[in-house]
């Protein structure tokens, strides 16, 4: 039986890898997710057949409650709320790993109660106790950190960084103390109080390390917490000597790290800078002279529709403001009208457009935008110079040319969409106010830029109406 169990676990691990591999193309992605799901189902069924399971009461209660919550959450969640949901789920993954580790300790320690220290050390050899401490630590940090990230994204908590003097030192100290307590525990596994203290410290550490991170940096944090939830699962795998847990955890850990890295690059920031610099505080820098500011060219929807109508090639640059205004659907209506009249219409997607990696693509896919006209930054950046009109909606920092030229700008070095290279630019915006980074955008005052002031949804709806009348 044990051999069969092990082979089934191996099969599950293989299915996870194949599942992730199929995610490399939108054609096979759905099938890939089904493969991973099958792997999970196999792992669960095989575990339930395990002879060591004597009592199914708690298992059934747990599966029913958890399954119902998961089902409802997956059905109800709005696509704009995906970052919060993933943050919350990361937290559940983390806390589950920590709970399993602690339960394992609790079960074994009951057996050893009142026994000599030697017996304890036999039950908890160094490799088990070390990974037990790691699992509790990473799992709990993931849990409380994710809850804070969730609260910030959901708007329960203000998105602005919360800082206090010496924060980084306090965090470092907490980590060192927790690891030190873990060290003592490895030599004396009877010290259950130490484990409790580690959990409390880890909980505080999770909170303290996420509160100083600003709302705009959340994509990085969610990716990192995603990675942690995988590492916590892997650590639990070490505690239980279960290689499948280790493989699955390592895959997720690697995935989270890759995404973290991509997000950092897209913002031209180092991970240390994101985690410790508390970027996102109020206050901006105005490097543009009043003289230059006067040259704003304002267009009405009617004129803009005419300009768009005479264009041959159009690139749409959507930002998160588009999703906030719920204008995706009407925008796609506009895009389809132009496609039907024979124009080339594509969407240019910056990696940080949205609140998590790839978020904008999901929001547009929901609005029925076919994925073959969603083009990522590197693939479309050279095409801007041959484009008649670029229509920018709700994006700002990712099109700011200062990132290329102005060494003093906080945006300097960040990869941007080459919107300024296009023949003409049309920007829909509420006002001339700067974006997240608090930096003014010279492109607004450029002679080839047409500004359309107003709410994104209202403005696009007007464009559709005007374009229909033409």
């Amino acid at each position: 039986m044990e051999t069969i169990t092990s082979l089934a676990y191996l099969l599950a691990a293989v299915l996870f890898i194949f599942g992730l591999k199929r995610l490399s193309s939108p054609k096979t992605a759905r099938q890939g997710n089904l493969l991973a799901m099958t792997g999970m189902l196999i792992a669960i069924v095989v575990t339930l057949l395990d002879q060591s399971i004597l009592d199914f009461t708690y298992i059934i209660i747990g599966l029913v409650i958890g399954g119902a919550i998961g089902l409802i959450a997956a059905r109800m969640v709005e696509m704009t709320q995906m970052p919060q949901m993933v943050a919350l789920f990361n937290g559940f993954g983390g806390v589950a790993s920590a709970l399993v580790a602690f339960s394992e300790y609790s079960a074994k320690s009951t057996m050893a109660l009142g026994q000599e220290n030697v017996i304890w050390l036999e039950l908890f050899p160094a490799n088990v106790s070390v990974t037990l401490v790691l699992s509790l630590l990473i799992g709990t940090v993931t849990f409380t950190g994710s809850l804070i990230a969730f609260a910030k994204l959901q708007g329960i908590m203000r998105g602005a960084p919360v800082t206090f003097p010496g924060q980084q030192w306090v965090n470092a100290l907490i980590l060192i103390v927790a690891l030190g307590l873990g060290g003592f525990f490895v030599f004396d596994p009877t010290l259950m109080n130490f484990l409790m203290a580690i959990i409390v410290l880890a909980a505080i550490l999770g909170v303290f390390s996420v509160i100083p991170i600003g709302g705009a940096d959340m994509p990085v944090v969610i990716s990192l917490l995603n990675s942690y939830s995988g590492l916590a699962a892997a650590a639990t795998g070490f505690v239980l000597s279960n290689n499948m847990l280790i493989i699955a955890g390592a895959l997720v850990g690697a995935s989270g790290l890759i995404l973290t890295n991509i997000m950092c690059k897209a913002m031209n920031r180092s991970l240390t800078n994101v985690l410790f610099a508390a970027v996102g505080t109020e206050g901006g820098s105005g490097t543009i002279s009043a003289e230059e500011r006067k040259n704003v060219t304002e267009y009405s929807a009617e004129d803009a529709a005419m300009v768009l109508d005479s264009a041959q090639s159009i690139i749409i640059v959507p930002g998160y403001g588009l999703a906030v205004a719920q204008a995706q659907h009407v925008l796609q209506e506009l895009a389809e009208m132009f496609i039907d009249s024979g124009k080339s219409v594509r969407y240019a997607i910056h990696p940080v457009a949205g609140r998590m990696p790839g978020h904008m693509n999901v929001l547009l896919a929901e609005a029925n935008v076919p994925y073959d006209i969603l083009v990522e930054m590197d693939a479309i950046n050279d095409d801007f110079q041959n484009t008649d009109v670029v229509l920018v909606i709700g994006a700002n920092d990712v099109i700011n040319p200062a990132a290329r030229t102005d060494k003093d700008s906080p945006l300097y070095g960040m990869p941007i969409l080459n919107v300024d290279k296009a023949r003409s630019v049309m920007i829909i915006k509420r006002s001339l106010s700067p974006g997240f980074a608090g930096v003014d955008n010279r492109l607004f005052y450029d002679s080839k830029t047409m500004m359309l002031f107003g709410d994104a949804k209202k403005m696009v709806t007007e464009l559709v109406r005007e374009a229909k009348e033409l």
Partner: protein, 97 residues
């Protein structure tokens, strides 16, 4: 160092490399589903949770196990379903009409 740990360590390191190889090939288009999908995979802890909740341990261990089963099941069920919901929306031009 015992042998079991050593093997596990090998498995862990090699799996990280596999993870890097496979996941670098996922296009930015699908990064959100990748995240929610891999999140569901990290719910694999459910295996450990089931054993803790059902193995006839002491009461405290069982209750911790129950909580772990709930959390991990939310993660697994919610994660896979929402990923499927998202991936269903990704369609090519000609499939739509």
């Amino acid at each position: 160092m015992n042998e079991v740990l050593m093997v596990s360590l090998y498995v862990f390191v090699l799996a990280i490399f596999v993870g890097f190889e496979v996941i670098t090939k996922v296009p930015p288009l699908l990064h959100t589903p990748l995240m929610s999908g891999s999140n569901a995979i990290s719910g694999i802890t459910i295996v450990g949770a089931l054993l803790s909740a059902g193995a006839g341990n002491a009461q405290l261990a069982k209750i911790l196990g129950l909580l772990a089963v709930i959390a991990a099941t939310i993660n697994v069920v919610g994660g896979f379903l929402v990923t499927d919901r998202m991936l269903e929306m990704f369609k090519k031009d000609k499939d739509k009409k």
